[in-house]
């Protein structure tokens, strides 16, 4: 139950967050509201304001519905696997459902824009715009030096573990350093070179562009430091589990809060910097944005483009690679609940312990551990399971399998039922240790008798 509560409490805030992001779309920034470019005069237009209010109400009702559904799922008396599947389905609904009122409001606003004669000429809507003065400015430093420190910090834990002989755990901790390198690559690859052109005002364009570029760099740099802290936290978990978990949670929390703050802060700056825009000549690229969400411009050679507001990025669906990325992301998102199905399969499968053709075999779901009998140097039956912590593998209510650290025994390979003993400790001639048990205690006792 504790695991389920933690799982749901870690994610229930997604619904209100998406609600506030959607509500924020109704505030004019860069002459945009709900993905539609409108002139300054539209900000006082009764019909526009009515559409925006209706959109806000719909998103609010949706948010409350999703929160209620989440709380019901949290309280359902189901296993962890079923709860995880419901959780992943709920996350998908949180992502997809708010997009429906958004697309409908976007369509209604576009229709109103057409009726009011606010649409510019076709060539202006489909053409490209560039601010020569801002494009001539140098994009700033893209060096690696700022990322070097988090990289070095994230390399300390794996280096120490590898020197201590904990090679497997050291290699796992190397993921932190790999992520820092990945973040730097992402920062460079999707750098915000494109200026944020809103209208003829080059100073405004330069200011908007500067804001986006600065926070783009800061975001990846903060992510790198968070990854270094995560690496340190995971390393500390071996020695001080509580302190280690606290560091991991603090790093994840800090990064999450900072990311949300950056997104809303940039939106706020965009709103303030373009408060007086939308008169005279201004940029309108609505025809390139399907439902105001998906970028499609066959005349644009770029694959990665800026989202229209905030700090995010998106792909150009007119490019083959862009369509590939979008489809891959959609498939991953839609396939997420399958993870829950897999977990259900894992937790419903029993751990089986048996002696087969001169081998001691522990099997669970797709995993199988075989120990030739002639290699067994020692074996003991434990009535109490020692405290174990996972290095790599699976840890569920009904099964623990993979590489574990066992208090008083060192590193062991485990395949056991943690709920009910006894447990078998098997030591091979070359010093490997196994901690095993079957879901059915009688099976464990029978194998122990046969081994004796």
């Amino acid at each position: 139950m504790t695991g389920k509560i933690i799982l749901w409490l870690c994610a229930l805030w997604i619904a209100p967050l998406i609600y506030f992001m959607m509500r924020n779309e109704t505030r004019f920034k860069k002459n945009l509201a709900v993905g539609v470019t409108l002139p300054q005069s539209a900000r006082e237009d009764g019909e526009v304001l009515s559409l925006l209010r209706r959109f806000g109400r719909q998103e609010g009702a949706l948010c409350l519905g999703l929160l209620a559904a989440g709380l019901v799922c949290l309280l359902l008396p189901v296993t962890m696997g079923v709860s995880l599947m419901l959780f992943l389905l709920w996350v998908e609904l949180c992502v997809f459902l708010p997009a429906i009122p958004y697309a409908r409001c976007n369509r209604a606003l576009k229709a109103l824009k057409e009726r009011r004669g606010w649409r510019p000429e076709l060539w202006e809507r489909t053409g490209a715009v560039a601010d020569l003065s801002v494009a001539a400015q140098l994009p700033g430093e893209l060096g690696f030096s700022a990322f070097l420190w988090p990289l070095l910090v994230s390399l300390i834990p794996p280096a120490v573990d590898i020197v201590r002989g904990e090679v497997l755990y050291g290699l796992i901790l190397l993921i932190g350093a790999a992520c820092v390198l990945l973040f730097y690559a992402m920062y460079r690859w999707a750098f915000r070179r494109k200026a944020e052109v809103v209208d003829e005002n080059s100073q405004r364009t330069a200011a908007l562009t500067r804001v986006r570029r600065q926070y783009w760099k800061r975001m990846w740099l903060w992510s790198s430091w968070a990854m270094a802290a995560l690496s340190l936290g995971m390393w500390l978990c071996q020695l001080q589990p509580v302190l280690g978990m606290a560091v991991v949670l603090a790093a994840a929390l800090a990064l999450g809060i900072y990311s949300i703050w950056v997104e809303f802060h940039i939106r706020g700056l965009q709103e303030r910097l373009t408060a007086d825009s939308g008169t005279g000549s201004y940029v309108d690229e609505d025809d390139k944005w399907i439902w105001g969400m998906f970028y499609y411009d066959p005349n644009d050679s770029r694959l990665i483009v800026n989202d229209r507001v905030g700090m995010n990025t998106t792909v150009n669906l007119a490019r083959r690679a862009g369509r590939g990325i979008a489809v891959a992301l959609a498939v991953i998102l839609l396939a997420m609940p399958l993870l829950g199905v897999w977990i259900i399969w894992e937790e419903r499968n029993p751990v089986v312990l048996s002696l087969e053709e001169g081998e001691l075999v522990a099997a669970h779901a797709g995993s199988r551990y075989e120990i030739p009998l002639e290699e067994i140097a020692d074996a003991a039956l434990l009535e109490e399971l020692p405290a174990i912590s996972r290095i790599a593998g699976t840890a569920m209510d009904t099964v623990d399998k993979g590489r574990y650290r066992a208090e008083g025994y060192g590193n062991v390979t485990a395949c056991l039922n943690p709920q009910e003993g006894p447990w078998l400790l098997v030591v091979t001639a070359d010093g490997r240790q196994y901690l095993l048990s079957a879901t059915d205690p009688a099976e464990t006792a029978a194998v122990w008798q046969a081994l004796r």
Binding site: A128, L132, A135, A136
Partner: protein
């Protein structure tokens, strides 16, 4: 200065870039000595091919509107003194004046219109 490219136009993109930069220089939006974006930066900014931007810059350089340098990139040239219009400009002007005559404008009306446009500094 905003560069607006029309992909549905019959005028090639490199020509549109060239024309708008010339208009920008004429009406003062691009000052002499002002730095222009590099070929790569302008291509990335507008989402068009680098070769297209390169072609426009080469044309502008040939016509003496911009100066290119390996270190500082492209800059707007200072245009001092009178330069006689070239044959292509004269041919274009002759064609436009003929069109005005066919549209029914008198000599005086056409000259007044030309004077107004000249005073605008080339603004569209």
């Amino acid at each position: 200065m905003l560069l607006r490219l029309d992909f549905s136009s019959d005028v090639p993109i490199y020509q549109q870039i060239r024309n708008q930069i010339v208009l920008g220089i004429a009406d003062g939006r691009l000052a002499p000595g002002e730095r222009l974006p590099t070929i790569r930066a302008l291509a990335e900014e507008s989402g068009i091919n680098m070769m297209t931007v390169s072609k426009a810059y080469q044309l502008l350089k040939q016509e003496g509107y911009i100066h290119t340098d390996r270190r500082s990139g492209a800059t707007v040239c200072r245009r001092e003194g009178h330069a006689a219009p070239d044959a292509a400009t004269l041919a274009g002007l002759r064609l436009r004046l003929s069109e005005l005559r066919l549209a029914g404008l008198s000599r005086e009306e056409a000259l007044v219109l030309c004077g107004e446009l000249y005073d605008e500094g080339g603004e569209r």
